[in-house]
Amino acid sequence: MTLMTRELKASFAFVERNFNLTKRYWGWEVAFLVYAVAGALAVSLIGAGQNDTRLLLTLVIGAVFWNYLSVVFSFIAETVSWERWEGTLEYTFMAPVRRYAQMLGSTLYAVIFGFVHTVVVLVVLALFFELDLSQANFGTAAVFMVLGSVSFIGIGIMTAILPLMYVERGAQMTFVLQSVLLLISGVYYSIDVLPGWMQVASNFSPATYVLDGVRAGLIDGVGTADLLRDVWPLALMGIVFIPLGLWAFGRAERYAKRTGKLKRVG
């Protein structure tokens, strides 16, 4: 068996395991999905209340695509904290699996799960508001979704090291980072309303470019070729963040093994 085949098979272990966990926690998954749908509806109704179709679509896109990005981010970023909580972290880290294979498996499931989750939210919102998407350029939305996924995967991997290095506080830091991304990325409003320093910070969030691009594509029908100003930062972040994340994860694992922080606590 070649090294690549072995690692791909090992990656599937994480896909299958996470699928089984989703099945076993199905009650919670339904509850989270209902909450996500209700949250998206509640925000979007602000636009409906203003009788402003553009505002409505802006909010719907913000709610739907933030849902996708945050699900992908959470799944990857919580890879370590979840296992620490279950008590399986040492077992997984003792297994003969390279970390990139582990991340590939976790990422693949996160993308599939996030996509399904988001499609449900989108369908409910589309039916509820009878959205007119006749002008929409779905190709643009798809391109930005893919590019955004890659960038968010990179950030997720980098964030996953926090629970590895900080046994108790790591998961909390992850949550705070996710909240900051929500605040600065213009999910429900234009980043122009943010204070100057926050606008600067928003340039470093992939979500800013994803939402810009998707909105331009779905509301105004703009093609990807006309959105290069949003494409290249996203592509650059994807190229940089994933290798950087894997490198940082390796360093963090080494640190955890040196300081004894893989051991279950709690």
């Binding site: 068996m1 070649t2 090294l3 072995r6 098979k9 090992a10 599937f12 272990a13 299958e16 395991r17 089984n20 966990l21 076993r24 926690y25 279950e86 008590g87 399986t88 040492e90 077992y91 997984t92 880290f93 003792m94 297994a95 003969p96 699996v97 390279r98 080494r254 093994k257 040196r258 300081t259 004894g260 893989l262 051991k263 279950r264």
Partner: protein
Amino acid sequence: MKWRGIQPSKVTTDHDEEPEMTGLLQEPKTEPMRAPVPAAPPSRTRRTLPEDGVPALLVEHVTKQFLVGRKRKPVTAVKDISLLIRRGEIYGVLGANGSGKSTFIRLVSTLLTLDTGKVEVFGHDIERDEMAVKRLINRVSVDAAFFKKLSPFENLAYAARLYGMDPKSARQQAIAILARLGISEKRLGRPLEQMSRGMQQKVAIARALLTSPTLLLLDEPTTGLDPRSKLDVQSFIEDLRDGHDATIVLTTHDLAEADRLCDRIAIINDGRIVVEETPEALKVLVAERHGQEPTMESVFMTFTGRSLDDDLDNENDENDEG
């Protein structure tokens, strides 16, 4: 159950580069006390183990220190430990709580880095050739670490895939191992959280054996089990020893268990190996040199300066404080 063929030379995996062969155990700086050849015949027949070939586990001058608390006080958990375990051997590690047993097991399991020293598993250096070592070992810890919402089958399928096994054949092997441990197939589809602690521990043992480790690290595998489950696990370990040429490192607080199962025993006190010998030789040693009864309890008290009751009291105090 299939076990990887253990050769008299270094065990290799099918993809990793072979590291250079290294020498045998060098003379340790602080030599643990060696018992004289037992004067009395052993209480049971011990197996004859091969003296030559690559050791299953070679540990040379290993030290591990942690920085503990807000003041980052250095605590040395393992101090200059050296030992050599031959293939097919069951090697017991005894010691009080906090003596360094579990840290030692974690070091060999690649879950901790070494501060100083060297560890080799069947000739593979655990730092330079970590992946090869990971394929040769498995560990059962005192707390059965599982995704408790998943069933035993789901947890075992996860383990099988991590180790590059086919989940279907792994399932058949798991059924056979668990049947031997007294768990029927019909119980394997329910969430693990619905199983008793003893049953969970048996599934943990099955999971470890599923990957056919050439070196099995059992870190207090019977702690907290009821007498029946404990006996099931102990007899299974005996089966492994007799029928599968397994090399096992066993840490335990159960002195009778150590006496029954282990070919040799090392006692760790404050991170150091203070004595290492066969159970019979240890008993003879405490009887002849220290005038104690020739029991494992006397051996433990003599070399750790405490009884198991003291140890349990300490544990209870710690729990109360926690």
